[in-house]
Amino acid sequence: MDIRKPISSQGGDSILKFLDLWKKQASVLKQKFGVAIEEIRMPLDDLTDVPIVYVQKDSIISILKFLKEDSEFEYRFLADITATDEESEPRFELVYNLFSHQNRCRIRVKVRVRESDAVATAVSVWEGANWAEREVYDMFGIRFDGHPDLRRILMDHRWVGYPLRKDYPLRGYQMFVDSEPVNLSLLEQDK
């Protein structure tokens, strides 16, 4: 009894309903992007609820753009950007959760990222990716190339360490008594 068992009160039939569509989409992706698609994990075969598409770090933006704009795929709703610490090499997996309004199904795109790597920002695809990427940077220390405003978001800007890394302790204190000044550069008008 694990994730492969469909649960009817959670749209259990949806996996069977979308399986053909996902398989078709997987073959289109493999054909179009070739080696840039490292691996595709399908539900029922693997321990996941929706397909996971592992892509190469350098082609992530072109693939996200294709998934968003292609009329067959139409994964227009960026549900989430997050990351996981895998404690192996490469250390992180960057996760993009997407939803299609048209097909009403979901897909997950993942990128394997080394600790020293920087990933291209998805702000050019979705403006709203801004804060989600800042949070990934804040919590995991993954850097995003070309991000307009890569600062910490939940933690104080003077914080040391990345809290959601697995080697970060659960307890500890960092005290900041004075408040931060207003960041005037953010109020400059766009030229």
Binding site: D2, S14, D80, R106, A132, V182, L186
Partner: protein, 415 residues
């Protein structure tokens, strides 16, 4: 539309009440930088905006948050799945039950547990009751922020009664912790359905009154129509979901698009507005309350007696008489609460239509009693992100209206 006298399309602003900016209002080149919040009452005590004003017009602004960050995602990796239920209450504390249900569903998905029918109906009642409470507080507080205090009291009375209903379910009013993995804390008491239906009837009347009080009110129109517009395209760019997206014409409701629980078995409409301003967000919420009331009365009719726990030994909490009277029961109880149960490896993103939009739990399990990664996708983060864009070029007092209308809940925003 409830109020027959009111026709949205025929409404236009009277001459002299220009929504467009009066150029005389700007102060030339002199700018003022104003820090709003986090302790300002309009910012709900946890949000901060730094705005550059020209006259009263916001030229540019940026938002900060994180003042109530409690490291919930880190705690999710260091608590057992059962222990974590109480942390989900404190996400969106205006509708704690939806968070409980969403979290329980996420873990059940990973474990392949099907809960019995009565449990599903009760969870649906929880979701809709919370949605109504959340919408009542959102439109109520939005009106209070703009000076309409009596409107808020109408809704708040019904909200208190709803809390009393929830108290009958689980003994708590605000931090409910009602769901368990694979079941519920307790069954609904006898006569709960009858009380629920009586409440639905009363609330329907009150919502009608609220509608008559505010929807056609001229001052309310002047403060909300055309204010804080966030159009359909922006909603897609900023991942808006829930009522805020539906107010701009995005036809998306997970209860209908990706049905979960028994939403397939009940009839309801999805209200959609087109303009995406503060007024439409108010209107969508008011109409949604009525739909939720319909769903509630259908649930009360369709719910039958039966078990509330899934027959799964891994997650079933042993009954107290077994725990106190048998050795095996005592050991089972001890192991359950001290060590937790094992969740098989796998990863799932489980989403529900919460009161404010898509609430998702992305759980990665590598086996064991703790999650490897517990990600909470709260809608408030994405809605708050759009605020700076929404209020650019608006008056500073309209920022208060816009912020109230997107219903940013700090607990869910900061996690």
């Amino acid at each position: 539309m409830m109020n027959e006298d009111f026709k949205r399309s025929s409404f236009s602003l009277p001459p002299g009440y220009a929504v467009e900016h009066d150029p005389d209002d700007l102060w030339g080149d002199s700018r003022v930088i104003v820090n709003i919040g986090p302790t300002h009452p309009a910012m709900h005590g946890a949000l901060r905006m730094i705005a550059q004003l020209n006259g009263e017009t916001i030229e540019k602004s940026y938002c900060e948050f994180g003042f109530t960050h409690r490291a919930k995602e880190k705690l999710g990796e260091n608590r057992t799945y059962h222990n974590y239920i109480v942390y989900t209450d404190r996400l969106n504390y205006c509708s704690a039950l939806i968070n409980n249900v969403a979290y329980a569903m996420a873990v059940e998905r990973l474990m392949g547990i099907e809960v019995p029918e009565r449990c599903v109906w009760l969870r649906m009642i929880c979701c809709e009751l919370s949605r109504i409470m959340d919408h009542l507080i959102c439109i109520g507080i939005n009106a209070v922020d703009l000076g309409a205090f009596s409107f808020f009291l109408y809704g708040f009375h019904q909200r208190e009664e709803a809390y009393t209903l929830i108290e009958k379910l689980c003994g708590a009013r605000l931090t409910t912790s009602y769901t368990r993995i694979g079941g519920l804390m307790a069954d609904a008491p006898d006569g709960f359905e009858r009380e629920l239906k009586a409440w639905v009837g009363r609330t329907r009347k009150v919502v009608q009154e609220m509608d008559e009080l505010l929807t056609g009110n001229k001052i309310w129109h002047l403060r909300t129509v055309g204010v804080g517009v966030f159009n359909k395209e922006n909603c897609f760019e900023y991942s808006y979901s829930g009522p805020n997206a539906r107010a701009a014409g995005v036809d998306m409701d997970l209860r209908r698009d990706q049905p979960y629980l028994f939403y397939k078995n009940v009839e309801f409409d999805v209200p959609i507005c087109q303009n995406g301003d503060v007024f439409d967000r108010y209107m969508v919420r008011l109409l949604e309350i009525q739909q939720s009331l319909n769903i509630l009365s259908q649930c009360a009719d369709k719910m039958k007696k039966g078990p509330i726990w899934a027959e799964d030994k891994r997650v079933r909490i042993p009954d107290k008489d077994v725990v106190y009277n048998t050795m095996e029961g005592m050991i089972h109880h001890f192991k359950f609460f001290m060590k937790g149960f094992e969740v098989p490896p796998g990863e799932a993103y489980t989403q529900v239509e919460a009161a404010n939009g898509e609430l998702g739990f992305y759980i990665v399990s590598k086996g064991g009693s703790h999650a490897h990664r517990m990600r909470i996708r709260g809608p408030s983060v994405w809605h708050y992100q759009g605020l700076s864009k929404m209020v650019e070029g608006e008056k500073i007092q309209d920022m208060v209206a816009a912020l109230g209308s997107i219903n940013v809940i700090a607990g869910e925003l900061d996690r």
